[in-house]
C-alpha cells in the first residue's frame, strides 16, 4: 500500500439487518492492515451511507449485507454515489449473496463481493490491488 497516505474505507451496514459480526471483523482487519477505517454503525439508509462517504472523503465503501436485500441496496448506493460526483469510489462488500447476483451486480459497476468463509486477507489484497491500479492509471 502507498506510503504517502492511508486508504480510507467506509464499512457500512445498510438496511434493517443487525448482523454486524462480519462488518466488525472486516473493520478491525482493515484497521490492523493500516487502513483508515470509518464504521457507520447499524441500520443505515443508502442516503446516510453516501453522505458519510462524501463527508469522510473515502476511497472505498464496503457494505455488509446478510439480509437478502443486496439487489436493492448495492445499486441504490452506487447510483447515489455517482449522483454525488463520487463515481471514483470503489463500492465493494460481502454477505450472503448468491453467485448469479454477484455477477449481475458486477455488470452494474459494483466491485467484488465476498461470500461466507472468505479470509479477510483476500478482501484486503483486493482493495490494495484496486488502489494501486488507480494510482498508476
Amino acid at each position: 500500500m502507498s506510503d504517502e497516505r492511508k486508504i480510507r474505507i467506509l464499512v457500512a451496514k445498510p438496511g434493517l439487518d443487525g448482523h454486524d459480526r462480519g462488518a466488525k471483523v472486516i473493520a478491525s482487519a482493515f484497521r490492523d492492515a493500516g487502513f483508515e477505517v470509518i464504521y457507520t454503525g447499524l441500520h443505515q439508509t443508502p442516503e446516510m451511507i453516501v453522505a458519510a462517504a462524501v463527508q469522510e472523503d473515502v476511497d472505498v465503501v464496503a457494505m455488509s449485507v446478510l439480509s437478502g436485500a443486496h439487489m436493492t441496496l448495492f445499486p441504490r448506493v452506487k447510483k447515489l454515489l455517482d449522483e454525488a460526483g463520487a463515481d471514483q469510489v470503489l463500492l465493494t462488500g460481502g454477505g450472503i449473496i448468491p453467485e448469479d447476483d454477484v455477477a449481475e451486480l458486477e455488470r452494474r459497476g459494483i466491485g467484488r463481493l465476498f461470500g461466507p468463509g472468505t479470509p479477510t486477507t483476500t478482501a484486503i489484497e483486493y482493495v490494495n490491488g484496486w488502489f494501486a491500479a488507480q494510482q498508476t492509471s
Binding site: D20, R21, A23, K24
Partner: protein, 573 residues
Amino acid sequence: MSTIERDVLGRAELGRLVERREEELAQLRARLAEWEESYDDTPRRDGPFTTISGREIAPLYTRVDRDGADEDEAVGLPGSYPFTRGPYATMYRTRLWTMRQFAGFASAEETNERYHYLLDHGQTGLSVAFDFPTLMGFDSDHPRSLGEVGVCGVAISSLADMERLFEGIPLDKVSVSMTINGPAVILFCFYVAAAEKQGIDPTVLRGTVQNDILKEYQAQHAWVFPPEPALRCIVDMFEWCSEHTPSYNPISISGYHIREAGSTAGEELAFTLRNAFEYVERGIARGLDVDSFAPRLSFFFDVHNDFFEEIAKLRAARRIWARGMKERYGATNPDSWRLRTHCQTAGVSLTAQQAENNIVRVAYQAMAAALGGTQSLHTNSMDETLSLPTEKAVRIALRTQQILAFESGVSNTIDPLAGSYFVESLTDELEREALALFDEIDALGGVVPGIEQGWFQQQIAGSAMRQQREVESGERVVVGVNHFLEGSEKIEIDTLKIDPEVERMQVARMSAMRAERDEATVASTLSALTGACRGEQNVVPYILDCARCYCTLFEIRAAMEEVFGSYKEPVFF
C-alpha cells in the same frame, strides 16, 4: 440399640469410609503420576487441544478433578434441585423434545403453506421467522422497508397478516414460538387477537415470544425503544400473561444471538443468565411476586461445535438458574427454579463451501442438545449460509432430529453423561466462569450500564475476532474452508429465491386493509395507547385494543415512540 449407640456406630462407620476414600484417592494420584510420565514421554499431535471457545482441555479427567465436590448437592437427580440432570423427572421417557423448525418467508400465505407442510411431516410445534422490517417495527409499505419485505422472514404488519399466517392452524392445539424482540409486545397482541378471531380463549394459548431486549442491545440489534421503556413493556408482559395467558411463555431469554455474534460458550452462558436475573429483578422491583412470573421464563441456547462443552453449558445453566432463583431471589415454587430451554444448532458454524457437510455438523450439534437435555430443538438446514432453506434442506434437517430421537438411542435414558469425570468437571468450570463474569458485570454497574458502555458488545466482537484469526491462521481447522478444500471451489446446491413481487403484493394488500378499517377507532385507540405509555398503566390491554381494530405495527410503534423515544446504539468496532 439406643439412638446414641446408633449414632456412635454411624460416626465410626463414616470415619472408616472417609479414610478408605482418602486412601483410594492417594492410590489414584500415584497411578496418575505414572500415567503422566508415560504421557509426557510419548509423541503427541500439535493440537490445539482447546474448545472452539479457547478453553484448555486436559488430556484425561479422573475422580481427582472433582475431589471435594458434593455429587448429591451439585448434580442431584433430574427434576429436582439444582436440576443439573434435567428440568423434569422423566425427561424424554415422557415426552421427546419438541421438534420446532424456525420458518418464515415472503407473504403470510406462503409461510402458512410451509407451516402446513411441516406439520404434515411430523413437526410438533411452529416457530415464526419475521422479516427485517417487522423485526424493527416497520410496516411493509414504509420507505425503510424497501427491498426487505418478506426476504428474510415473513412480513406481518397487522392483525390481518397474522390471521392469514395461521389460517387452518388451530392455535389452541399447536404451540407457536415467535422470534421478535423490539416490537414483541405488539406482535404478541396481533397473535392473541388472531386467536380470538379463531374463537379461542387466550387462556389456552401455548407458545413463546422471544421478547428478550437485553441481548438485542448486546448482540442481535433488532431494537426499537431505549432500555428502560423496553424493560417496562417486558414486565407489563410478565404481569399480563401470568393472568391472561398462563400457559404462554412471555419471554425466551436467549444466548443464541450472543453466541452467533461471536461470544464464547462461557460468555453466552454468563450473559444470558445475568440478563435473566435482570428481568427477575425488574419484575420484583415492580412489586410482582417472583413465583407469579418466574415459572414462565424460558430460555434459548446455541448448540455449537464443541460437543462436550455445549452439553456442560446446558447443565451448568440449569444449576446457576436454580441456585440463583432459590438462594438469591427467594423463589419458593420449584417451577421458578426449573430452567426450560429451546436450542438451535449453530448457524455460524455452517460453511458455504461443501455445504452438504453441514448436515453432519448439524447432526453432532443436535445430539449435544439432546444429551444436554433440551426441551425443544431447531436443526439448521445445510443451505443456510447461502439463502433461506429450500424445502428439501428443511426436510433433511427435520429428519436429522427424527433419526436422533428414534434411531440413535440417546433418548432412552436421562442425562447419560452424568458422572463422567470430564463432563462434570466441565460443568463445574463453566459455572465458575459464569459467576466470575457476573462479578465483572456487577462492577460495571449492572447489565444496562454495561450495554451503554459497549462492554458486552466489545467482549463479543473481541471473541469473534480471535476466532477469525484462528481460522485464518489455519490453527483452527474448518473442513472445506481452510483444510480439505477439494470440492470447495464451486457451490453446487439449489437455493431459495424470494420473488420481488412479494413486496409489491404486500404493499397493495396493506392499502386495501387501510381502506376497509374504521379510521376513527384507529385514531382513538392509538391515542389511548400513547396516554397509557405516558402514565403507569400496563400497556398490553391498550395495544390489544389497537391490534383488534387493525392498527398497523408501525402506527402502534409510533404511538409508543412518542413517549418512549427510540434507541441509538453506541458505535464502535
